[in-house]
Structures are given as C-alpha cells and as structure tokens.
Amino acid sequence: MSDSQTVSVTINGHVYTADCDPRLTLADFIRHKCGLTGTHLGCEHGVCGACTIMVDGRTARACLMLAVQVDGSTITTVEGLASGNELNPLQEAFWDNHGLQCGFCTSGMLMCATELLEENPDPSAEEVREGISGNLCRCTGYDSIVKSVLAAAEKMRS
C-alpha cells in the first residue's frame, strides 16, 4: 500500500485538511473526505461534466484530478455558489426557467456556466450552447438550460 499524504485545500472558503491515498481522486476527496456531495459523479472519466468544479478560478473535472494535485489550492463547488441561503443569479435562473429536471447534471452545468459568464457576460444562445456542449444532460434537451444561462446573464448585467 502506498503512503498516505496530507492534503490541505480551501473549498468554498473553508480549509479542509485530510490524509489521503495518493490515488484518491479530487472528486472522491470532495465527496467523501469533505462531505460535499453536491459535486456529482456520472462517468468518472471526464465525459459527462457532472463533477465540474472551479480550481483556482478555472473549471476542472474533479474526477480527472487527484486530491494531491490541489494541495494549497482554492476550490469552489456548487455548494459555494449561494451566499448563505441566498441563491446566486445563475442558481435562481435554473430554478425559475426549469433548467433542470432530475438535477444530477445541474451542479456541473452551473459551474460551467459560471465560467462561461465570467468570460462572456453577454453570450448569444449559440455561444451558450457551445459553452455547455461538454456537459451531458439526459433530461431536458438543453433548451431550458440555455434559457436559464441567458436569463442569468441578463440579470447579472443589469
């Protein structure tokens, strides 16, 4: 067995420190060591995007990283989007515009859209479609997700 390593990382403003197997994925670290189950695992090989998080301000697939890679990093997961119990405009827009059904892809969609709107605060519908095309949703057919992101963008610009 390999020796465990100590990983310390700031997630949603809290510092989490845990000993972990060097092979532990970041997704499993977040879900099991930190108890943040909002980051969902759909495929465990970087295809579905459900586990998308922010690592030092950039989106990443938590299933494709190891926990030891993020020692000292700052991470945002879906649980970090709201301020207390107040949802942020993207979360509100997904809820208001039926941008989710089962909701399992939603965490990853929200994180992906967060980065999208940071880079392009006024995207066209086509740009949103392109932007979320790396995330799989099996329920909605994507249209309501596009609508949600556009609604959030509008609200965030005003």
């Binding site: 943040l36 459900a50 809820w95 399992f104 099996r138 057919g141």
Partner: protein, 760 residues
C-alpha cells in the same frame, strides 16, 4: 385564482441548484461499509472454478457471497427465470457471480477481482433470427421450469421468451387480390437510458427485516423483487426512495438492491452500499431492446391498404424482466394511426446471451413507429402520391375500431395535430423551398397512459399546510414536484409552496405503480385529488358549526373555509385544523385510483398481456434535416410536435418532457450506437463511445399542445412524458431518406451509413 396550467417553482428546485439534494448515490448510513460484485466477463460459459478463499483473506473484507450463500430462489417481474448469482452457467456479460463486502469501496473491488474464477466459454446466442432456428443452442435449457410471477403461463418455449400472434381472417385473401405488395425490413439497435446518476443501493438487515435505500422509479417493484430473490415475504422488505438522477425506465426493476440486502445480512446488519461504475452500469442496464421489424402491405388499385403483415423479433436478452408484458404492443402499433385492413401481427421476444433488455420510455413503440412510418413513406412513393396526402387520406377518425377491438372515440384529434403542424410549417412551402441535401419527414402516433394503481394520503397540518404521503416518485419530470403538488394546492385553495410531498417509503405509503408510462400526474394526481376532496369535506364539517352555516354552503378557497357569497364569514385552514383537534381529531383524506383497461376482444390474439391502451393520446411530428455530404453528419434544423395532452397542468413540466423526449429520440435516430459483438458483448462501454446528444445537436422543439381534458383525469390531465419519444426516429429517418433519395431503414443513422448511401 387557479394554479392549474400555471408556471410554479418546482418544490425540489432549491435543493437541486444548491447541491443539497441527496441522491441515492449520496446516501450514507452510520457505520456503513461497501460492496462490490464480481461479474461475468463473458456472455456464455460454464463456471469451472469459483474459489473465494483468497478474496476472503484480503484486507478489510467482511464477506464474500456466491450462489451457495443465497436462497435457492428464482425471481422476475413477469417470469421467474433469474437467480441472484450465476449457478454453473453464465448467460450474459456482467451477470453477477459473487458479491463482496469490505470496509472501503476500493477494498471491496480489489477483493472481487481476487476471486478465483474460471469460465469455459460456450457459444453465445446473439443473432435474433438464428436464436429461433432449430439448431440454435438454448440460452436456458431449463426454460420449462420457469414459473410466471402471477397468473397463467403465456406462449413461450426454448429461446422464444414470449410470443403474441393475431391472425384475423381475410389477410391472405387480400394479399392474393392485391394490386401491389410493398415489403420492408427495419432494424433497430439497442438504446441505453444513460441517466447521469449511476445505480446504487444501501441495504440494511435489522430486526429480521431488510431496509433498502435507493433512488428508484418504482420502490414497490424493488420490494417485490428483493422478496423473491431473498425468499421472504414482501412485507419483510422496506424500500426507502431518494432523489433520482434520471431513470427513463431503467430504474423500474431491482438491480443492486438485493445484493446490498443479502450482504448486510451476511455482515450482521451493517449497512452495505453498492454503486455501479459507469461501465458496469452500461453493460448491465436493461436497455431498450434491439429489434427486427418486417412489414408487408397489400395495396389495391386505388391505393388503399387492404391488408398488412407485421412481424417483429425483439431481443429479450438473457432474462425476461418486464419484456413479455410488452410483446403485444406490436398489435397496437401495427397500423400506426392509419387504416390498413385486416392485419396479421406476429411478435416474438427471443432469449439471447446478452444483457437483459427492459423498459425505456416509449417501450417498443419507438422502433414500431419507425417501421410503420418509414413503410408509409415507401408505399406513398410506390404509388406516386404525396406522403402527407397519403397519410391524411387514411388517417384514423373518431370511432376507429382497432385490431384488438378497442374503439378510439376521439382519434379525430389526429387531424387537429396535422393541422397544427401545417399551420406552423406548411407542407407545400417546405417542399417548394427544399434544397439539395435537405429533407423533411412527418409521422403520427397514438399511445397509452400507464393505468397502474396509485394512492395518496393528504393530511392537514395545524398550520394550514398539507403533507401528501405517497410512494409516487419524481424521476425529474416534475410530476410530483409540480404536477401532483399543483393538483392538491388547487383542490385545497392553498399555495403550491404549502404542499409538501414526502419521498417514498413502502412502510409508510401505499402501493404505487412507479414513474412509468406517463402515469404519475394522472394517476397519483387523481388519487391525491380524491384525498384532498375528503379533506375539503372534513374541513367544511368542522367549520360549519363555527361559522354557523350549513356545510353545503361553505367553500374551501384562498386558504380559508368561508361561507359562499358572504364576504368576511370565513376561517383560516389553520384555525379549522386546530379546532378539529378538539372535535373530530386530525383531518386527513385518502384517495386511490387506477384506470381500467378499455374494452377489447380477448380472442383477437394469443399472448395478449397488455390487452389495450388506456387513456390514449395522439401525436404528430415533423422534422427538417440537413445532411453534410462531406462528413455524413445529419443536422436537425427544425422539429415540430403537436401533441394531445388532456390538459396542461404544468407548462414547464409539459414542455420539458417534450423537449427532453425528442432529444432522446434524436439520439436514438442519429447518435446512440450500442452495438453487440458476435461474442454477445457490447462494443460501446463508456459515455465516451456511447454518444449522447449534446447541446449543439438539438434545435428548440416547436410545440403545439392540443388540450382535450379527460373527464377521468385530475383537472383533465393525461400522460405527457412518453409520447414525444415515439416519433423522432421515424420522422428523422423519413427526412434523411428524403434528403438523400435512398431509404434508411436502420437505427441509428450514423455518418458512416449516410456517406455510404451518398457514395453508392
């Protein structure tokens, strides 16, 4: 003020956008340990060695179980043909052979891999036609010993898992006098439901009973299956449901649940959790069955179809699940929605050494309508008649009597569907504007709303809000989080936010037929409406004395019980509910509902297990596509749906179902290739190679709801969710065939096939 037909925020929205929702795969128990399964690496073979000694000695291992540790029982939804673990023989790749419980998931998986297993491979039965030939090996040589789960046995034998045949008089005579006979063969691949949450289960053996936590569409079915596998009575199993990360039919039967239960018993009641890897999930999922459909139509000199033959051979996989029930759907779809004279229908379901198939939204209908609607295009082309004109000429009308004797009183709605599509996309204009490599397809369908029973208790809290206790599940559709919620809110005159619907628990809520066949809003909505009506009556009776009015002069509205027409004479629901505590006791109501099967002729067919289609709905779809002649890619430019919906309860939910189902249909038509090799194993094994539709692959669906409120449904509601998946393969295949000028009779239509057709 009404909430029916209004947009409301779904009750699970906050938890889903905040990451707080606990899905089945997130669920954990104190002291929980982990399980893993050893699955067969081959699709057919004989187990020659199975030694768990080394695995048992691995770190952290608590138990290793094989068939020797499981009850000697057979289980199955329709036919009891399946054991918990393979015994001697393996019948499909992925079939469980052993189960391990260990402290961590990694330890459990390592121990499963350390089990000493040797299998002598045997020939696999894969090809559907060959499976029925006399020289094919039998998938189950002991098929005669299998017992139906309920009721009498049904037509089956050898590799024939089920058969339904309808052979009315006059078919051969009509073919003999036909002006021409048009024949086609259609092939459809399997389709993986590909919900984003993989399957999981937590099992607990405590107080001599099994408790199972799972994210499941049909908790009561899990209860029944676990009780069969573990050979205990159903009430010895309690199933608790959690938020479901998609299902689409694949989470209607038990999967990991009985293994979690048995492992927990073996480790003296510690909770044991199993979770599929994505590849395990894909290769063992009860996917939509592959099928071969052969159609022959006899046409007279005027172009009328005077007789038809439909033969469908569908892939059951190695075990039957729900599939025998569904074989008779071919009878209901054989003519589509067009008059076609006497029709002989032969539906055969065959055992193969492949993963058992099962329910996927629009069961059987997707490939049957693909076949029928492609065939209609072919007939019209042979006759030199416009495809739309030909359909309209033969379209069902009010009072149409079907092959099973069922009468469709309202089939004239179909014409309204065609008119709605015509208004938005005039056929003549589409034809006139056609450019090279563009094509148009049109088709129509009818479908059922699943009639299975449901029940609900509506209980009034002392603060004027209500809880609804039901085993209904919201698979994401919003049928519970919006539909049933709205029905109850409307009936009680309270805001939807004051209606709280519990997650399912089979120890608490009565039987529910699960989220399948578009039934939840209609069946559970109706049961909840009946329960709410009882609450209304009790509220009035309690309030009557307080308001000094007769109960019949009272109404429950806007959060109050009030005297009709007398402003100011009212009490809040909370006041009435508190008063009731001292007079009649807590106020609650109960409702149950089931839709009876419409009348049919029982002599019309053998093997008629799904005899007629309750609560029919009608559907017309049109697609416009563009083919890239260089890459072979097909792009769907426009997609239109006109759908009869009874009454729209939730506009977001309704449109969400249509948009989502059409997207799954586009995937089925163009992208989702799930091939089976000659060895019986899937070629596609991950979500990387199994290609789901992406955001850029689907246009916004133009949707035209046709409302014809059903007097039996809650506020007129009928099923919505399944119908829109029936036709995309049909109309897209018609459109691609139109674009290229060559028939595409296989699903999916991959770029390789498009290029081959262009180049040939």
């Amino acid at each position: 003020m009404t909430v029916i037909g209004e947009r409301i925020p779904r009750s699970d929205g906050q938890s889903k956008v905040s990451g707080e929702a606990i899905y089945g795969v997130d669920y954990a128990e104190p002291g929980m340990i982990w399980g893993a399964l050893l699955r067969s690496p081959v699709s057919s073979g004989r187990i020659t060695r199975l030694d768990t000694t080394a695995a048992m000695a691995m770190p952290g291992v608590h138990a290793v179980l094989t068939a020797a540790d499981a009850p000697d029982a057979y289980a199955g939804w329709v036919l009891r043909d399946q054991r918990l673990f393979a015994v001697d023989r393996v019948h499909f790749e992925g079939q469980p052979i052993a189960a391990v419980a260990a402290d961590t998931l990694a330890q459990a998986r390592a121990a499963a891999a350390a089990i000493d297993l040797e299998i002598e491979p045997l020939p696999a039965v894969v090809d559907l036609d060959h499976a029925l030939s006399p020289d094919a090996p039998l998938v189950h040589p002991d098929w005669e010993s299998f017992v139906p789960t309920a009721g009498p046995d049904f037509p089956r034998g050898g590799n024939l898992a089920a058969e339904s045949i309808s052979d009315p008089p006059g078919v051969d005579e009509a073919f003999a006098r036909a002006h021409r006979v048009i024949s086609d063969e259609f092939v459809a691949q399997r389709q993986y439901q590909a919900y984003i949450e993989p399957k999981s289960a937590v099992g607990i053996f405590r107080d001599g009973r099994y408790t199972i936590h799972t994210a499941h569409q049909f908790p009561y079915n899990v209860r029944d299956r676990v009780s069969q596998f573990l050979n205990v009575r159903p009430s010895a199993v309690r199933v608790v449901g959690h938020t479901i990360g998609g299902g689409f039919g694949a989470k209607l039967d038990a999967s990991l649940e009985p293994y979690a239960a048995l492992l927990s018993r073996a480790v003296r009641g510690l909770a044991v959790k199993l979770v599929n890897t994505r590849t395990e999930d894909l290769i063992t999922c009860p996917s939509r069955e592959g099928a071969i459909t052969r159609l022959r139509s006899a046409v007279d000199a005027e172009g009328n179809i005077i007789a038809r033959e439909l033969e469908v051979i569908a892939d059951n996989g190695a075990y039957s699940g729900e599939m025998p029930w569904l074989a008779s759907i071919a009878l209901h779809c054989a003519r589509g929605v067009y008059r076609a004279g006497p029709t002989r229908v032969v539906a055969r379901l065959v055992y193969t050494n492949t993963t058992p198939t099962g329910a996927f939204r629009g069961v059987n209908g997707t490939y049957l309508y693909h076949a029928v609607e492609r065939h209609m295009d072919h007939i019209a082309a042979e006759l030199g008649v416009d495809r739309l004109e030909y359909r309209l000429r033969h379209l069902f009308t009010d009072g149409e009597e079907l092959l099973n004797g069922q009468v469709l009183d309202d089939a004239g709605i179909l014409r309204q569907g065609f008119e709605a599509i015509e208004a938005a996309a005039p056929w003549a204009e589409l034809q006139a504007e056609k450019r090279p490599y563009r094509g148009i397809g049109i088709g129509a369908a009818w479908w059922l709303t699943n009639p299975s029973a449901g029940t609900a208790v509506v209980k009034m809290h002392e603060d004027g809000t209500v809880a609804v206790v039901t085993a209904a599940t919201d698979n994401g559709s919003g049928a519970v989080s919006m539909g049933v919620t709205q029905v109850v809110a409307e009936r009680l005159g309270i805001p939807p936010a004051d209606v709280h619907i519990a997650l399912p628990d089979t120890d608490v809520a009565g039987f529910d037929g699960g989220s399948q066949g578009s039934r939840t809003t209609r069946i559970v909505g109706k049961a909840s409406q009946i329960a709410a009506d009882e609450v209304v009556e009790k509220l009035k009776n309690v309030a009557a004395g307080l308001l000094e009015a007769a109960a019949e002069d009272l109404e429950v509205a806007e959060g109050t019980v009030r005297v009709k027409g007398v402003p100011g004479k009212s009490m809040t629901l909370a006041e009435v509910a508190v008063t009731a505590m001292n007079t009649v006791g807590p106020i609650q109501g109960t409702g149950s509902f089931v839709t009876p099967f419409p009348d049919f002729n029982p002599g019309c067919a053998t093997g008629l297990m799904l005899p007629s289609f309750p609560t029919p709905t009608y559907h017309v779809h049109l697609a416009e596509v563009e083919v890239d002649p260089v890459t072979g890619n097909v792009r769907v430019l426009r997609y239109l749906v006109a759908q009869e919906v009874g009454r729209v309860i939730s506009p977001d939910g309704t449109y969400g179902q249509v948009m989502g189902a059409v997207t799954q249909g586009i995937g089925y038509a163009l992208h989702e290739s799930l091939r089976i090799g000659e060895d019986g194993r899937y070629r596609e094994r991950t979500l990387e190679s199994y290609r789901l539709p992406l955001a850029g692959d689907v246009p916004r669906v133009e949707f035209f709801p046709l409302e014809h409120p059903d007097p039996d449904g809650p506020f007129g509601a009928k099923g919505v969710g399944e119908g829109p998946v029936l036709l995309p393969a049909a109309v897209i295949a018609n459109a691609v065939s139109d674009a290229i000028g060559k028939p595409f009779n296989q699903i999916p239509i991959t770029p390789e096939e498009v290029l081959a057709a262009i180049q040939s």
